[in-house]
Structures are given as C-alpha cells and as structure tokens.
Symmetry: C2
Subunit: 357 residues, 2 copies
C-alpha cells in the first residue's frame, strides 16, 4: 500500500493506493462526525457495499443513491441530494463518503463543498479514471446544460482511498477508458513508467488487475506531484490537460454520447502526438511509441464523420483557455511537455485530418 | 469615509463605508479582469446605475438582472445566471459586481464562488442589512425549498463598497427592517453605540440618512471585528445570531412571507431580552432599554396567531445549532452576551408567550 501526502490551501490530506486501502478508515477519527452518509450508485453498492463495510468497519452508515451516468452531474441532482441529506438529519458535522467513479466524486464533492457551506468528505474512487485522476486535487463540478464542469469548487476530500480490487467489476470498456488517462500520466512522467506500461498493457483487463498494483501508484504519483506544485492550475496544472483539448471538443461535438471520457482522451493523445510532430517539437519515433500504445488498448469509436471545421470551432470553448486562446500541451518527448498558445490554425486542422484517416 | 480590513482564509479585503465609497473602484486594478458583469435588480439599476458608473468610472460593464425577492435565491436562478455569463463570454478572469441587497449578495456571491470554480466578485450593498451585515464575512447561499441558506460557500468579495446615499431610495419598510440589525450590532457593541442609536432613531428615514453617516461605520465595525476573530463562526461568530434564533422560527412558521428578515430579528430581539430576564441574566432596566429601542422603530407584523408549540418545534431547525441543540445568544447587558445551550423548554415557551401579548 502506498500513501501520498497532498497539500491543499484548506488542509493536507492523504491518498492511499493499494489492496486494503479501505481499511485505513478504521483509524480515521470517525467520532468527530455526527453521522456518515455514503453517496453511491446502486449496482456498485450492491456489488461492493459489504466488502467496504467489512474493511472500513463503519457502522450505521446511510446510503444515498445517484443514477449512473453523466446526467447526474447536474444542479438538479445536487438539490435532490441536499434535500435527502436534510431529511435524514445531516448537519454540519456529517461526513460524506463518495463511493464511485468520476460522476460520484465530482457531484458528491461539490455537494460536500456547499451543503451547509461545507461538510467533510472522503473519496473512495472505484474506476481507474477516478483513482488516478479525478479524486485527487479537489476539483468538484456539475455540468450546466452541455457545458461540462461549468459549476464547481476546489474542495478536496479528507482522505482518498483507492482499492484496486474494486476495478475487477468494471466493464471492459470502462476499464480500458481509464487506461488512456494512465497513458497520459506515463507520457508526463517519463520513459521508465512508459516502458512499464508498454510491457503489460496487452495483459491488463478486469480479470487481470495484478499489473495495476504497481501501475496505479505510479500514475497517482504523477497527479499528486502536479497538484502539490499547483493546486489551482494557474500554471503548472495545465499539463494535466495533455490530450484533453481535442478530447473535449470531440466529446462536445458528439454531445457526450459517443465516447467514454477516456476514449476521447485517447483520440486527444493521438492528435497531440501528431501535432507535436507537425510543429517539429516531437521526434517521430517517440510519437509513434505514443500512438502505438494508444492503439494497443483497443479500437476507439470512429471520428470519421466529424467535420474538422466543427471540431476546430469547438476547441476554444475549452474553459481552461484564458481569454479565448488555447493552451496547447504538446509532448516534446516522453517525459516532457511544452505549453504553447502559438499553433497556427492550419496545423491544427491538418492534425485533425491526420487522425481521421 | 471609513476603511476596514477584513482577514479571510482566502485573502484579505477592504470594506469601505461612506459617501463616495463607489469611487474606490477608480483605483481598483480592473485591468486584471477580462470582463466585468454587474448582477443587480432592474429598478435598482435604473435608479442608481448611472451614478455608479460615474463614480466608479467602470466602462463596458454588462448587466445581468435578477428578479427582486427571496425566490431568486435558488439553484434555478444560479443556473440561469451561469448560462447567461457563459453566453456573454465570461471566463475565469471575469469580475462580478454584486449590486443590490442581501439576495443579490448571497446569490451573486455563491455564483462567483462556483462559476468556473470561482471568479472574483465585489460587493456593492444597497440596503442597510447588506451594508452592515450580509456583505461582510464571505457567507454566500441559496435556499433549497423552504430551507434557507442550505446551500452555500464561504467566499468573500475582493472589496465591499457601502455608499449610504443609495439607502435614500429604500422603501420605508425595507429601511426600518435593516435598522433592527443595527440595533443588534449596538447591543453587541456596548452603551456608547447604543446611546447614539437611542438619540437619533426617531429621526432616521430614507429622507434623512445623515445620522447614518456615523452609525453605519460603527455597525460595520462590529461585524468586521467578529468576522476577523472567527471567519467560520465555529465559536465566536455565533454571537451574530443574537435575535436570530426566534427570528428564523418566525420566518419559517410564516413561510418567509409575513416578515422582512429584519422585522423577524426585531421580534427575536424582544424575545431574547425577555429570555435573558427570565433566566436572571439580564437586568430588567437594560432589558427595557432594548425593548424600547426596538419598539421605537415602529410596529412589527403581528405574531398573535402563531401557536407557541409550533414556533418551539421550529427552533431546533436552526441549522446553526450543532447536533440538534440550540445555541442561545443571550444579552447579559448592553455590550455583553452569553452563549448557552442550557435553557429549559418552559422558559422558552413562557418567553414566546410574553412577547405575544
């Protein structure tokens, strides 16, 4: 089991990764809290609730269920959950346990940050994406209409507990989707981690999570390091957007229906590798290694039918862009990226046509 | 013009009170911001928008209008405003100017705290209540159903600009309502401030705001001091609830329709003075001075028809109570209060019957 310390403006907290992570809760000062509520999804809780209760030894927890899927990341769902909490007597000293993937973490984290102006929460991420990325760093959000994450806060959990066992019940597609984010982290980290991924990526599946026991902590470390250097992403945290600029545009163009988030990031990584090469920043041999690794994960939903002009129009909508310009995160080699706003439109378009082929 | 410094976890900021306060904006580093949006109410902006523009010398401001009244403090209104901001190109470096009373400050402050995970805002309070109380200290909120302020954040403005001139267009009822909060502050502060209020309270009206020029800064100072000692109200800030425990119950019992907030606080002050006397904590002569001052402000909406049992049932619903118990803030004399959870039910009921007579 690996334990990482994360600094935040509000307080420092720990990310625990590995088999038995949920047991950490036995030593958590739960007596501080007047009541404990688990925010989760029904099928997930049915599958893992008992194991979690046994490991954590939390008694008297109450559960609030959220429908699966991105549409639960809404102000409406927030209001419903807050009403339920109120009805069940949650007060300022209640604790929320956010047991689920990115949707539960984002929505539940936002709920925790605003219910009675803030109650404590703990993240128990149950997808690869949530374990290596969204549960760390304190970003919470709901969507507004089709605008993803328009409304949110910076509000970390008191603890993040990532138990790899839980990943064995993921659907193959959800499992693979999370691995695109792991590839992203490996590109940011360097050749050592990248090689490790190359060596085992074909064997990874929900039935074989063993290689993840060493991969997950490495991926988590990448995120923790970036977050520790820059919680509010004014500068440094922007590198985590690697692959996300194109990715977001693809998701938006298809109304968040065609791609799992990670799949869009997969396309985004292919695109940014091409872009790096077109800009002369990235060596073609390194670019090919990146693209090969992405392709080895499996097929991605098609982007053939998407008009390049449309995708380009959607790019500046990326709300991480300041003042309308796009901050491109471009790999220079595995282990090094450059942030640049200086990319001619023609090159962006040609890049997109490259990956459409 | 008086300037107060307020400390907060996020940053320190200034509260400027007095004629010409809006001019402070001329020296505010507005170039930092990509765009400026004023959140306000239509009639108010029609009356004061030009004066504000002339004083502040802000150019190119865009306005977003919110319907008057408490019902605008909702998640729905939040979503609408966020959509409008997005449509008009507001990004992370936009500035929100919250021009209005408590509703605008609470709703707009919450909006600022969650739009793209937080943009800067400036409070320009235009009611007495907002100037001496709600604009200071960073509390933001919306209501959920009938549960007031259930959803919110701690998120102060970069600046609070309280111009007394603007109070001259308040309705007499709104004007008086704010003065109950001023009385509360005087009870917390001490005999000097209380005497000053006694000397001028009969002459105060929207047509005669001159006495406010010295009263407002004194009232603001009370709030600033408490906030500076305890931003998150875990302990000390609770004294600001003086008169609010009964007040909230009265508002809830009448579905927030019968009383202006300050009027409910007026009743709350009468009640807490009686409670203090019944508990033997408050001298009857001091109690009478408090009650006289409240009554001199004018008549309050009747509470005759409200069943004491009902009001008592609503008391523990005060979400400021931790773990269900009520933290009573009881005056011991003008200038000193005691916080106690130890009040027998019979005394609370007898107190309410006292003021019903």
């Amino acid at each position: 089991m690996k334990v990482f310390n994360v600094k935040s403006k509000q307080f420092d907290y720990q990310v625990v990764v590995g088999e038995g992570a949920w047991r950490t809760l036995r030593d958590f000062p739960r007596d501080r809290y007047s009541s404990i509520f688990v925010i989760t999804e029904k099928p997930l809780w049915k599958r893992w609730g008992k194991a979690f209760a046994a490991d954590s030894k939390l008694n008297g927890i109450r559960t609030l269920f959220v429908p699966s899927g991105e549409s639960s990341k809404s102000l409406r769902a927030l209001g419903l959950l807050a009403s339920q909490l109120l009805k069940q007597g949650a007060d300022r000293r209640s604790l929320l346990v956010l047991f689920g993937g990115g949707v539960i973490g984002d929505l539940g984290g936002f709920l925790a940050s605003v219910y009675m102006r803030g109650v404590d929460c703990i993240h128990v991420p149950t997808t690869i994406l949530a374990q290596v990325d969204s549960s760390i760093g304190g970003k919470t959000a709901v969507n507004l209409g089709e605008m993803k994450n328009l409304i949110g806060t910076f509000y970390p959990g008191r603890l993040v507990l990532s138990e790899p066992r839980v990943l064995s019940s993921l659907s193959p597609r959800n499992f693979r989707s999370g691995l695109y984010e792991v590839i992203k982290h490996a590109i940011l980290e360097g050749p050592g981690f990248f090689k490790q991924l190359e060596a085992c990526i074909d064997s990874l599946s929900p039935e074989n999570i063993d290689p993840l026991l060493t991969i997950l902590p490495r991926a988590v470390r990448v995120k923790v390091r970036v977050v520790n250097r820059d919680e509010r992403e004014a500068n440094l945290r922007v590198v985590l957007n690697l692959g996300h600029t194109f990715g977001h545009a693809l998701e938006e163009a298809t109304h968040y229906r065609r791609f799992a988030h990670g799949e869009a990031v997969g396309w985004g990584l292919l695109a940014i590798s091409r872009l790096g090469q077109r800009l002369g920043l990235l060596d073609s041999s390194e670019g090919e290694r990146i693209e090969n690794l992405v392709w080895r994960l499996g097929p991605l939903p098609s982007i053939r039918d998407l008009a390049p002009a449309r995708i380009l129009r959607l790019l500046p909508q990326d709300k991480k862009a300041v003042g309308g310009s796009i901050q491109w995160v471009v790999p220079e080699r595995i282990g090094q990226v450059r942030v640049t706003a200086d990319v001619p439109r023609e090159i962006v378009e040609a890049t997109f046509r490259d990956i459409q082929r």
